[in-house]
């Protein structure tokens, strides 16, 4: 589950040089809200937590050096007061703010930053996020358990930390804003040991007040928070263990303020068709793409003509209708809200006759039989059936393999097991709002390894070189140039057609009238379902 829903770093229509959200910094403080969830919270340890549920909870409990402006994907300094980059893009220096404190009252120093980065990359921590820090000098040997620490991270003085990279990397500041880069106090980690995920101590706007497994988690405002007037709410209660359908009933009865798991698909139309309810639903984009992978190492998908034919065979509009219009059709790997999205790119047309002809040209006039792997929870099997029908229309007989998530992921990670996979429910939502995040693991050569996430097993070394070049453009003045480079990379990928991009999911957040705030906070790119820190209670004075 880890990755999947992984904090859709949505962008909304606004993005990049976005007009920042009109967040009301003077909203009154006080009041509380209740969020419902079906699953229990796995952990609140920022080095471990990696699912869509605990991702934003951890964001409210912890801070890193960098963060995002509320409701946007615009980076800002969080615990750092300033950051500078050397001319060659290899050395970053961060100055910490004054008077920043952990929930236990102790002041945060540069040594805490070093400790936290070494903890998350320590192989003993078993952090799912360790790999993000691969650009820091000394990562390889430390993460292999061969060093005494991360040699690239140096404490200059109490307030200053220097991070040396092994390669220039334009995504570094986004990585410093990931939960995995949260600053944690050593003494609290040592005291709690492996139970730190149950007894989290951070420096975020909220601190943990109560955790009753299977029932509720309660956050309380941290009065020593480094931003004055934040958070707005006095407390946030997470009610755990409720079926989404039951959670909706509770919200309708005024007993909950937002649905952590979203509006249940079966009730979606009912809610949207009722003006009294739909006025409290906020829609936003999501940095997500749903796609079909075709294993380029398995015949006949090793033939680009076949892959193009499949691209032309899929009726994406119909698939979007199957999920009640909760998505928009896609024609390229990047979602529209991601910088680098090619607005003018037309993609492959829906043309089943043309597709048939192309198959015939590829020497497969009579079609062929194959398998389509799919995660076995709704709506994915229904979507797979639609894909199956579309394929049948051009003579491809696809057998659907409905499997548990982990089994689909495992099959995709083998070079010769899954000819086709529908990615729904598993991949891919960006970890951070940067185009590179859709390349390396799922389309680059690095991901085309056993156990990797590049289920097409697509490896184009020329593109890999261009990707590396784009990511070395660390000079902020080259942002547009870098974005253009990435845009062309994705358009060129589509020439090889390793995927059929099918749709980009939209987010629909249902809120009660007891909570309010700028609309962007309810579809916040980094906080799902809502930005707990800035939402306020209409009952607060």
């Amino acid at each position: 589950m880890f990755k999947l829903f992984l904090a859709g770093l949505t962008g909304l229509a606004l993005f990049g040089n976005v007009a920042l959200a009109q967040v009301n910094e003077n909203a009154p403080q006080g009041g509380s809200m209740t969020v419902t969830y079906k699953d229990d919270v796995a952990t609140l340890d920022p080095a471990i937590g990696y699912d869509w549920q605990n991702w934003s909870m951890i964001k409210s409990l912890f801070d890193g050096l960098m963060g995002y402006e509320p409701g946007s994907t615009q980076l800002r300094n969080e615990l750092s007061a300033s950051n500078t980059i050397s001319a060659d893009g290899m050395v970053h220096v961060f100055k910490l703010k004054n008077g920043i404190k952990f929930h236990n009252g102790r002041e945060i120093t540069a040594a805490d930053v070093k400790y936290s980065l070494e903890r998350v990359t320590n192989p003993k921590t078993q952090s799912p996020g360790a790999g993000f820090f691969g650009m820091i000098d000394g990562f390889d040997s430390w993460n292999a358990g061969q060093d005494s620490g991360l040699s690239g991270v140096k404490v200059i003085d109490d307030k200053t930390i220097e991070i040396r990279l092994s390669r220039p990397d334009a995504t570094f500041l986004h990585v410093m804003a990931l939960n995995f880069a949260s600053i944690v106090p050593k003494e609290a980690v040592d005291a709690a040991g492996e139970d730190f995920g149950r007894k989290p101590v951070g420096s975020g706007a909220f601190k943990l007040a109560e955790w009753t497994p299977g029932q509720r988690v309660v956050f309380e405002a941290f009065d020593g928070y480094h931003r004055a007037g934040v958070p707005k709410l006095e407390s946030v209660t997470f009610e755990i263990g409720l079926e989404p359908m039951v959670a909706l009933l509770r919200l309708q009865q005024g007993m909950a303020d937002t649905l952590g798991d979203g509006i249940p698909p079966a009730q979606f139309m009912q809610v949207m068709n009722d003006p009294n309810q739909s006025k409290n639903v906020i829609e936003g984009g999501q940095l997500h793409t749903g796609y079909i992978t075709m294993n380029t190492r398995m015949a006949p998908f090793d033939n680009v003509m076949v892959r193009k034919a499949v691209n032309m065979a899929i009726n994406k509009e119909r698939i979007v209708r199957i999920i009640n219009g909760r998505a928009v059709p896609a024609n390229q790997p990047l979602p529209p809200t991601m910088p680098g999205y090619a607005k003018d790119y037309k993609g492959y047309p829906f043309d089943q006759d043309g597709a048939k002809k192309m198959l015939a040209d590829a020497g497969l006039a009579n079609g062929f039989s194959t398998e389509l792997f799919v995660y076995n929870t709704d709506p994915n099997p229904r979507i797979a059936q639609a894909i199956q029908q579309d394929l049948a229309a051009i003579g491809i007989k696809a057998e659907i393999r409905n499997l548990a998530q982990a089994n689909v992921i495992a099959a995709g990670g083998e070079p010769d097991q899954a000819p086709m996979i529908w990615s729904g429910g598993m991949a891919w939502i960006a970890d951070f709002p940067d185009p590179s995040n859709f390349y390396g693991p799922i389309l680059g050569c690095a991901g085309a390894v056993q156990g990797g996430w590049n289920w097409s097993w697509y490896c184009n070394e020329a593109l890999d070189a261009r990707a590396a070049e784009a990511d070395s453009m660390t000079d902020p003045s080259k942002t547009a140039e870098r974005e253009a480079a990435w845009r062309q990379i994705y358009v060129d990928i589509m020439d090889d057609a390793p995927w059929v991009p099918v749709f980009n999911e939209q987010r629909f957040t249902f809120r009660s009238e007891k909570i309010d705030g700028d609309g962007t906070l309810f579809v916040d790119p980094v906080h799902i379902p809502v930005n707990y820190d800035y939402i306020f209670s209409t009952q607060a004075k």
Binding site: M1, F2, K38, T43, P123, T212, E243, L249, A404
Partner: protein
Amino acid sequence: MRNYVLRRLLQSGLILLGISLVTFILLYLIPADPARQIAGRSATAETVANIRAQLGLDDPVMIQYFRYLGNLVQGDMGRSYLQKAEVSVLIAGRLPASLLLMISAIVTELILGLTVGIVAALRRNKFEDQALMIFSFVSISAPQFVIGILLLYFFSIQFQWLPIGGYGTFAHLILPSLTLGLLGAGWYSRMMRSSMIDVLHQDFVRTARAKGIAQSQVIVRHVIPNAILPIIAMVGIDIGLFMSGIVVVESVFGWPGIGQLAWQAIQRIDIPVIMGVTIVSATAIVLGNLLADLIAPWIDPRIKIK
């Protein structure tokens, strides 16, 4: 008697050992790598290998199994791969809620099932009998998920008498135990009905009537106590049935029991938690059956222990 109990305990131990072995091997055979789940999609192959080594996943399955068993005997069920918390703590935190739900469901099903069965038997082939048997048929066949949602809709939303899911007070307990108990109530009402009809035709009932005892007295003092015996002995077996039911019922009502824990662990291949929950529930089922066998001769002397 003592020999019998000892023999059965030994058997139970062997059964549990078998269950743990089979579960362990099945989990091992699943084509998914827990280390990869822990490492996440950004991990390098070395990181995954490192985690595998730390968890001892590279060892042959039998060595892993005996290591697990060795720890288990010392009361150590390991730590959850994903929550990192101790499995014994996770289970202990949830067991009381599941037990409470189970006991109150047993009470519910007995009260409901026996009453319905008695009334149906006494009004055999009349309208009441047929109506009640349709009720029991429905309660046996309807999915618990549907019953739970329907009960919630009527009692919590329409009438607003009871809370919409949750845990804590007696009011929270009513709907989950009703949902869980209805299934058993259906079975018990059918069994009680035939058992009653059986006893009503026995010689001693005719004798009692011939002595001039009032009909109500005959029913209460002679028929019901005799008809109920074979049914009580079945309660132990229910524990097994409930173990599968609580997964569904707990998730509908947000009941913080081990069913919820198991469901999440299975989805995430959290092997230590799956093993822990399996062993704890298997133990409950085996003990329940043992209890049923031990109680049977005690309440019905016709059954002899050999």
